[in-house]
Structure formats: structure tokens, C-alpha cells
């Protein structure tokens, strides 16, 4: 065994394999520029910020650049083709994202600053109405807090449940690792909604779980811990958090498994040869190397959980309502588009700040 085999990979080793091609590739600012320009034009047209002749002009420009790119690829030699190839490949998908991811965020922002002319109007008029944001915070502050609070607790619980699961499969699964991994994914293949409804029945007052817990005499303990409310579980915060934990557990367990699986077991043996106990070997070797998976799992769990309302809708009560539910209710039921948009935009901003800080530290590579 050589020294190099024993040297741990640095945790942030994501850049080493990204450049299989020649480094001396000419920076093609033009390609990126065209991509960004057409993207921006599509956003402008999509959001309706320009109308009439200008919109037609912008569309024509977008089409023109695309045609020009194809023309250049056909007429130019292989050298030109190789240089613009990546942008040609990127273009269709990126334009789709510009038009249906970025443009909607702009219209969302505009709607959040608008006023409904009447209670039943379909469209809101844009008039820099910042009042929607103060309504969002004053009327729905509790929902924001609960949404993020439940998501945070659920994320911690998924780590607590998911890490040991991933650990056992990665290190003790032997030849059944693939099968065990498949078992984690199988619940995914049943509708999320139906699984949550299943929990509703399992936790219902007449359902199997409360009656088993009561028969076993756990009720006083669970009451003291605030998990059960009398002999009820359903319609408590605990049920909502339990549902979130259940639904996002695979999103935590799988990335952790992926990073555990990459660990070179020689490192663990080396640590043990150097007289570190199992616990110490875990703390000093395995755990640090599994951090990328843990961080990816945290993002993949916390973000969807903070906007989720399905678990709250089926497992909670009106006092446990969360922000996702308020957005859904204001948007689709109350027809209060501006306030719903404002809440949605705030949620988006908080998450984005969280992700940016996060990816600064840990990168985003392990998300896929």
C-alpha cells in the first residue's frame, strides 16, 4: 500500500475530473454572450415587458441569432464548429429555462407589487404596491415560522434516521447493497399524495398506530414529550413533521449513501492499525468524508419541505398551517394573487440566500 492510496481525497475534490478536454480552449465570449442575449430577450418577451412591435423585434432577434449560429456551424469549418458546439448544445434547454423558469420569476415579482382592481378580477394592475409584502409578513408571519421550523426539525430527523440506514447499507450490505438501495427507492414509485393519505389513515384516531401506542403504554411519555395530544397523533405538529420526515427520508439517505460508498475502506483499516477505536475511526475518517452527501441531503430535504403543504393538509390542523398552504390558499382559493405572489417571492428569496451561502461552502455538485 502506497502513501498516495492512504491520502484522503480532499472533501471538495469536485474540480479534478471536470476537464477531460484540452485546457487551452479559447474563451468563446461570443457564444456565451449570444446565449445570454437570446435568453434575456426571451425573458423580456415572455413577461410581456415589451409589447407590439418591440416584442416582434425581440423575437426576430432571438430567432436570428439561433439561425446565425446554425449557419455558422454549417458554413464554418470544423474549427468553428468545435468552438460553438457547446453553445449550440446548450441553447434549446437553456432557453426553455429562461422562458419558463426565469421569466415566471419576473412576472411573480411584478404580480407581488400589484393591486387587484376588484375582488374577482383575474389580473392585477402593477402599481409598486409594497403593501402586499407587509401583509405577507404581518398576516402570515406565523406560517413562515412554522413552515421553516417544521422543515428544520424534519431535516434533523431525516439525518438521524437516514444516516444509520445509509451506513449499514454501504458498509454491511455486502453483495445486497444494490438490492437494499432499490428498496429505499421503491416507496418513491407510489404517489407521494397516496402515501401521505396512507399516513393519515395509519395515524387516525381509530387507526393502528395510536391504538398500538396506547396499548403499549407509551401515551403518557409521548404526551409529556408533546408528541401526542391526549390519545391523538393526527392533526398535531408531530404528525406533520413525521410526514415530512417520511416523505423526504430517501432524499437524505441516498446522497449520504453515495458519499459513504466512495470511501476507501483502507483508510478505516489504517486508522484502526494506528490504534484508533471504531468510534474514533468513524469520527475522524468516515464522518468527515461523508459530509458532502450530508450537505446535499440537507438541501434536498429542507428546501422542498419548507414549501410543502401536502403533509400539513392531510396530517395537520388549522393551527399548524404553513407558508406553502397559505400561498396555495391565497392564490387558488381566495384569488388574492398579489399577496400570494409576495409570499411566494419572499419564500424564494429566503431559500436562495440559504442556497447561495450553502453552495459557497460546499458546492452544488453532489445534488444530482
Amino acid at each position: 500500500m502506497t502513501i498516495s492510496e492512504l491520502t484522503p481525497n480532499p472533501v471538495n475534490s469536485r474540480d479534478e475530473s471536470t476537464e477531460p478536454t484540452r485546457r487551452s480552449f479559447d474563451p468563446e465570449r461570443l457564444g456565451l454572450g449570444l446565449l445570454l442575449l437570446t435568453g434575456a430577450l426571451l425573458v423580456v418577451v415572455g413577461t410581456g415587458m415589451v409589447t407590439g412591435v418591440l416584442a416582434t423585434l425581440a423575437l426576430a432577434l432571438t430567432l436570428g441569432t439561433v439561425v446565425a449560429l446554425i449557419g455558422a456551424a454549417i458554413l464554418g469549418g470544423p474549427e468553428v464548429r468545435r468552438k460553438i458546439a457547446p453553445y449550440g448544445l446548450l441553447k434549446p434547454g437553456m432557453l426553455w429555462l429562461a422562458l419558463f423558469y426565469l421569466a415566471p420569476l419576473v412576472t411573480l415579482l411584478r404580480n407581488s407589487l400589484s393591486t387587484l382592481p376588484s375582488r374577482f378580477a383575474v389580473k392585477a394592475d402593477f402599481d409598486w404596491n409594497f403593501g402586499n409584502y407587509s401583509t405577507a409578513f404581518t398576516d402570515f408571519g406565523g406560517q413562515f415560522q412554522r413552515g421553516f421550523g417544521y422543515a428544520a426539525v424534519a431535516t434533523v430527523l431525516t439525518i438521524f434516521l437516514g444516516y444509520p440506514l445509509a451506513y449499514v447499507i454501504a458498509f454491511r450490505g455486502g453483495k445486497y447493497r444494490g438490492l437494499l438501495l432499490g428498496l429505499i427507492i421503491i416507496p418513491f414509485f407510489t404517489s407521494y399524495l397516496i402515501r401521505t393519505i396512507a399516513w393519515q389513515s395509519l395515524l387516525a384516531d381509530t387507526g393502528p398506530i395510536p391504538s398500538v401506542l396506547n396499548d403499549l403504554g407509551f401515551q403518557p411519555i409521548l404526551n409529556a414529550l408533546g408528541i401526542m395530544d391526549g390519545d391523538k397523533i393526527l392533526n398535531t405538529p408531530a404528525a406533520v413533521i413525521g410526514g415530512l420526515t417520511y416523505n423526504f427520508l430517501p432524499f437524505m439517505a441516498l446522497p449520504i449513501y453515495v458519499s459513504l460508498e466512495k470511501i476507501n475502506l483502507n483508510l478505516v483499516d489504517a486508522a484502526k492499525d494506528l490504534y484508533s477505536g471504531s468510534v474514533r475511526a468513524f469520527c475522524k475518517v468516515i464522518f468527515p468524508l461523508s459530509l458532502p452527501g450530508l450537505f446535499a441531503g440537507t438541501l434536498l430535504t429542507f428546501i422542498p419541505a419548507s414549501g410543502d403543504f401536502v403533509n400539513q393538509q392531510y396530517l395537520g390542523n388549522p393551527n399548524t398551517s404553513v407558508i406553502g398552504q397559505s400561498i396555495q390558499n391565497q392564490f387558488l382559493v381566495q384569488n388574492n394573487l398579489p399577496v400570494a405572489s409576495a409570499m411566494s417571492f419572499v419564500l424564494m428569496m429566503i431559500i436562495t440566500v440559504f442556497v447561495i451561502i450553502y453552495s459557497r461552502f460546499f458546492g452544488t455538485d453532489d445534488l444530482a
Binding site: Y192, A204, M348, T352
Partner: protein
């Protein structure tokens, strides 16, 4: 790893294994409930309380016509959107993995964004776009929405799979006189195909199961999850459980056969 040295260590070992088994059972508890209640003979409209065992629901899996229609709509939407997203997403993955160029990191960030945006934000913002542009929400707006989040998913998954490939193989083929087209179909495409298939399968499942984004953009169209959501208040037929079980079994069969095929292939190539 080495064998446990002390009795305490072996207790801890088995404790951890037992814990993992417990977590696994937690994951499967609702699945057992769903499959089990497909054999129930409910009294009244709601299939939530156990009455009698029956095979009737399985004899007529498509009895609930509106439900079957919703499932078919979901399958249609998932097929179309997966097809579009697989092509667009794979092209992006190819560009990111195969070439190094300016703006690589920025585009990476753009790709991750849709996956790190809560579904409710994506759903509501798309709905405001369609409202502002006077687009009637329905089948095609759902497809558009699904393609949007699938592109990111496919691109990132495929890129992760093709990273670290030996792209000099392409040059080797061209040096041996293969045209660029031939090089792509004979060398590049077979290399990236398994990754693309896996990504498209999973993104098909994502589309089939999507509820929140669909809810905002479906208009009067009913997909399987939307129908189930509405059924919870009106009438929850046992056919919902039957169809959910069928979808589950089909997915498992597909996944298992995919694994077996790739295993057989790698065995053949190592022989």
C-alpha cells in the same frame, strides 16, 4: 472491516443493524397499507376502514372511469414531457461534460436553481406567467412546467454519469477515419446512453407524481395526483389503491429489468 472485538461492540453493531431494519420498515409501512387496502371491500364511498377481503377491485381495476382517465392523462403528460426534457437535458449535459468553456460554472448554477426552488414557488410563478400572457392553463401548460424541472434533473444526472469519461476515444475514432456523425453514434452515444435512460426513467416518475406544480397550472385538466387529492373529500375508491399498486409493480419491474440488463452486459464485456 475487522470483526468486533468486545461483546459491547457486537451489541452496538447489532443495534445499528436493527435500527436500519426499523427505518426500512418505516419506509414501507404506508406501502403495505396501500397495497393491503386494494383488497378491501369498503362500506360506502371511502376506502379507509378495513371491512372484508375481496378480489373484486382487482377484477375491475379500471372501473372508476374518471380515475382511469386521470391516470392516462398523467401517463401522456409524463411521456411527452420526458421525451422533450431528455433530449434538451442530455444536450446540456453533453455540452457541460464534454467541453470546457467560459460560463461553465454560471450555467451550472442556473441548472441547479430549479431543483433548489420550492415547488410552490415554481408552480405559482409559472401560473402568474400564464395569467399575464392570457394563456389558458391546461394539458400543454402542465407539459411545459414538467419539462422545465425535468431538464435540470436530466442534465445534472446525465452529467454526473458521464463525468470522467475518456473523451479521447472520440478522437481515436476520428483519427481512424470515422466521420463526426459516425463517431457520435458509434462512440459517444453508446457511452452516455445508460445515463440518459436512467435519468429519463426517474424524470418520468417525477412527472407522474408531481402534484404541487401541476395543481397551479392544470386548469381543468385532471392528472392522477390531482384526482386523488379531490377524491379524498368526495369518494376514495379502492381502484385508487389498485392502480397505485399497478404503477408501483410496473416501476419495480422496469427498474429490476434495467439492472439485470446492465449486469448481463457488463458480464458479457468482462468475459
Amino acid at each position: 472491516m475487522s470483526a468486533p472485538s468486545s461483546p459491547l461492540g457486537s451489541v452496538a453493531r447489532w443495534g445499528l443493524n436493527l435500527f436500519a431494519v426499523g427505518v426500512m420498515m418505516y419506509l414501507f409501512m404506508p406501502i403495505f397499507w396501500i397495497v393491503g387496502f386494494s383488497f378491501n371491500e369498503p362500506k360506502g364511498k371511502f376506502n379507509f376502514v378495513w371491512q372484508n377481503t375481496t378480489l373484486d377491485n382487482w377484477r375491475e381495476p379500471f372501473k372508476d372511469e374518471a380515475l382511469t382517465d386521470a391516470l392516462l392523462t398523467s401517463l401522456k403528460i409524463a411521456s411527452i414531457s420526458t421525451l422533450i426534457a431528455t433530449v434538451l437535458g442530455s444536450l446540456i449535459a453533453l455540452a457541460l461534460a464534454r467541453y470546457s468553456f467560459k460560463g461553465n460554472a454560471f450555467l451550472d448554477f442556473v441548472l441547479v436553481l430549479p431543483l433548489t426552488t420550492p415547488e410552490i414557488v415554481i408552480g405559482s410563478s409559472l401560473a402568474t406567467l400564464f395569467l399575464d400572457q392570457n394563456v389558458t392553463r391546461g394539458f400543454s401548460t402542465v407539459v411545459i412546467a414538467h419539462v422545465m424541472f425535468q431538464i435540470s434533473f436530466v442534465a445534472l444526472t446525465v452529467r454526473a454519469r458521464v463525468r470522467g469519461f475518456d473523451w479521447t476515444l472520440e478522437q481515436a475514432a476520428q483519427d481512424l477515419g470515422a466521420s463526426p456523425m459516425r463517431t457520435f453514434w458509434k462512440v459517444t452515444f453508446p457511452l452516455i446512453l445508460p445515463g440518459i435512460l436512467a435519468a429519463s426513467l426517474l424524470s418520468f416518475a417525477l412527472s407522474l407524481d408531481d402534484f404541487i406544480i401541476t395543481l397551479f397550472n392544470a386548469g381543468s385538466v385532471s392528472t392522477f395526483p390531482l384526482f386523488v387529492n379531490a377524491s379524498f373529500k368526495n369518494s376514495f375508491s379502492p381502484q385508487i389503491n389498485v392502480l397505485a399498486t399497478i404503477v408501483l409493480l410496473a416501476s419495480v419491474a422496469l427498474m429490476a429489468s434495467g439492472t439485470l440488463v446492465s449486469r448481463a452486459k457488463s458480464r458479457r464485456s468482462t468475459r
